[in-house]
Amino acid sequence: MRGSISTTDLAKQFHNVLPKDAVLDKDEQLRPYECDALTAYRQLPRLALLPSKIEEIQAIVKICKEYKIPIVARGAGTSLSGGALPHADGILLNLAKLNKIIEIDVHNRTATVQPGVRNLAISEAAEPHGLYYAPDPSSQIACTIGGNIAENSGGVHCLKYGLTLHNILALKILTVDGEILELGGKNLDSSGFDLLALMIGSEGMLGITLEATVKLLPHPHDRKVLLAAFDQIQKAGDAVNGIISKGVIPAGLEMLDQLTIQATEMYCSPGYPSNAAAILICELDGFDEELETQVQLVKKILIDHQAIEVRVAKDNQEAELFWLGRKASFPALGNLTPDYYCMDGTIPRKHLAHVLESISNLSVKHSLRVANVFHAGDGNLHPVILYDANVPGELETAEKLGGEILELCVEVGGTITGEHGVGVEKLNQMCVQFSDAELNTFHAIKAAFDEDGLLNPGKAIPTLHRCAEFGAMHVHHGKLPHPDIPRF
């Protein structure tokens, strides 16, 4: 179904409302948009549009609504779940040109920005006032706030400072019906339902972000970074629990396994202990006086959990070195393998040791290597499956292995995605995490905002039909899922 209009006529419609160079229709112009950071999925859109004004977006949405053309909004295209994958019948709405920082309100500690502003650019603009924007997804140099809102992005420091959800105060949303919704404000709550919470993390399916007001925080007084090495990954997992159960909330608490340590050593030589089966990086921040107490406490906990080595960074330079390997983990692992597939389940921390062991068993079962580098403090795993797409069947095996890891996360009381989103990637696993009634509720919410299903259709929420098909291959808890759905 290509809608009721040819692509040439559609382009003409957009030319009426956009500058000439804002409508891209040639194959070589569309190619850069065929995928986001989940490169295994590719699709060219019919057209890509580059509006630079809110009025242009309104005009685009009006045309799309009239001709029932799907709209996929895109920021920097750094989604790891295919959230910005184009729709074959639709247009790609690139919001990168809407990159103005509208206001830094120092005394209310807010920044009001357009959706195409990069995450890091907000902190850079707030820096002269001693303020910053806390959520820091690893792609923060490139990723945009619009994308962060769509995905409810996390990052290294959300253990202490929260996810995107906790740091957005207001949104100006364009609905597919062309109405502008003002949600939230510089104040701390609003009248009516919490639509702000519903909008954040809705993967671009409920509305288009035109403007966001984010919370800014003062920089912490000081920070200290510790590095601990363990001869068994289980001991590192237990130490994570040990730290948090002693009442310490680190700013960040990260774990790297042996394969990752070796990869980073080859890639950027951060000088991690080479005999370690796992290392933990723990960043603490706070007031001088309280910080030193916490450093001593965490050090003791690490030693009590049989760390074979504990280092406390002497200065910022050494702290950066501790972080270097963690931050370079993904490119480092990329050097070990032609392709990798990064997963994103979250589990209650107490199951860390068990889940890591099970992942290692799944790795053996499918004969693919899996590296683990992740946000240990909040139980957010990033198993990285190493594979070679040129070997027939290896991508499929990697996806199967990844799916089994996510189902394991659900089994221990966790979730299939902690911060990357469902996108096109985890639709099948959504069937494992949610019941038919729950999925129906999601579809009904989608329809309440977008009855024709034009905004990012096919993402995030699987159809019940798809779940039935998936279920046919996948008997969950010994029960045939969706027994009430007719099968063909």
Binding site: N187, S191, G201, E290, T415, A437, T441
Partner: protein, 351 residues
């Protein structure tokens, strides 16, 4: 500790069949909040018990009728707190009522709202179907965030069955200091200090004195006290309990009490009558006989909204919504409560 989910479900299924409106009731301590409604009661009072409490995981899951006191006692034994410091407004306050009302206490200012500490909810929709959203882990982006949408919806979108909340370690030490300042100076100072990393966990201004609570290690607090000045007060716990529960002298009054939510650094509002300030300026309490429209207009002028918190229930308790927003509210109500039987009219007449 008892599970009455099946009984509640069957009552709800009947009500759905008969299109019979229900008024959801647990501890009845916050019934004053919202519009008055008259409908058959659906009691959650017996649906109680802590289902899971994992101190090292920093979460607790409990049934909706569980007394808030029971939850706070259990977590206090492990030196943990509910980050949002919710008010009780009476001994029988429950977890369900707390989440349905979404009201946070003094610590809101640095530890987040009730919604911010929700990890997951289990609800019955208006057809009596059991739905689970969110979970027990902080990072969870699977599906739309219905668990947080439910929070503060005053029971109009679903009947809460259980809730998982994120917990925080209890601060090592807390102290309160007091300074005498005029209103605009107090607003200014609160926001200047909040622009620094000082561990300010509560602020209250009564029209004369500014109270500031610091939560951290003893040594850090001492360092901040030097910077802020003022005098320490002794009875810190009682003081903040009185603010939270509105038993402080300011709140004892026959006049209507307005809750006005504004950007924190907003100057003193132009509304007749006495006022008090919380949350670094973001929450203004006004005891005022001024007419409703003038109060709402003043709130809107500064980018905020006004709620008639206590007083003669008018038709409109909450700030009126824009047309597109009300249209969406109605559609969402339709999704979760198709025949409109859950606390109809509690929030807005149209919902």
């Amino acid at each position: 500790m008892s599970d009455y989910r099946d009984e509640i479900t069957s009552k709800l299924e009947d009500a759905f069949q008969q299109k019979k409106a229900l008024q959801i009731k647990a501890g009845s301590t916050k019934q004053f909040y919202g519009r008055d409604i008259y409908a058959e009661e659906l009691a959650l009072t017996d649906h109680t018990g802590i289902i899971e409490y994992e101190p090292s995981e920093l979460y607790i899951t409990a049934r909706s009728g569980t007394p808030l006191r029971e939850i706070e006692q259990a977590i206090a034994e492990q030196h943990q707190i509910l980050p949002c410091e919710p008010p009780y407004f009476g001994a029988n306050a429950t977890l369900g009522g707390t989440v349905a009302c979404g009201l946070a206490g003094p610590r809101r200012v640095n530890a987040g709202s009730v919604r911010d500490c929700i990890l997951g909810t289990e609800i019955l929709n208006g057809k009596g179907e059991l739905l689970r959203f969110g979970g027990k882990v902080m990072k969870n982006v699977a599906g739309y965030d219905v668990s947080r949408l439910i929070c503060g919806a005053l029971g109009t979108l679903g009947v809460l069955m259980s809730v998982s909340l994120r917990l925080l370690p209890k601060p090592a030490c807390e102290q309160t200091i007091v300074l005498t300042l005029d209103s605009n100076a107090a607003i200014n100072k609160m926001n200047l200090w909040t622009n620094t990393p000082m561990p300010i966990s509560a602020t209250f201004y009564d029209g004369h004195d500014l109270y500031i609570r610091l939560s951290s290690s003893l040594s850090a607090i001492e360092a901040c006290k030097k910077e802020i000045g003022g005098e320490s007060i002794d009875e810190k716990d009682i003081f903040w309990t009185n603010i939270k529960e509105q038993t402080h002298n300011f709140f004892i009054s026959d006049k209507p009490l307005w809750r006005i939510s504004v950007p924190p650094n907003t100057e003193t509002l132009n509304i007749s009558g006495e006022n008090a300030i919380e949350w670094n300026g973001a929450l203004r309490w006004h005891k005022s006989d001024a007419d409703e429209n003038s109060i709402r207009t003043e709130a809107e002028r500064v980018g905020g909204h006004a709620t008639l918190f206590k007083g003669n229930t008018t038709d409109q308790v909450f700030h009126p919504l824009s047309k597109p927003s009300m249209k969406l509210h109605k559609k969402l109500k339709q999704v979760l409560d198709p025949v409109g039987i859950l606390n109809p009219g509690k929030m807005f007449a149209e919902l």
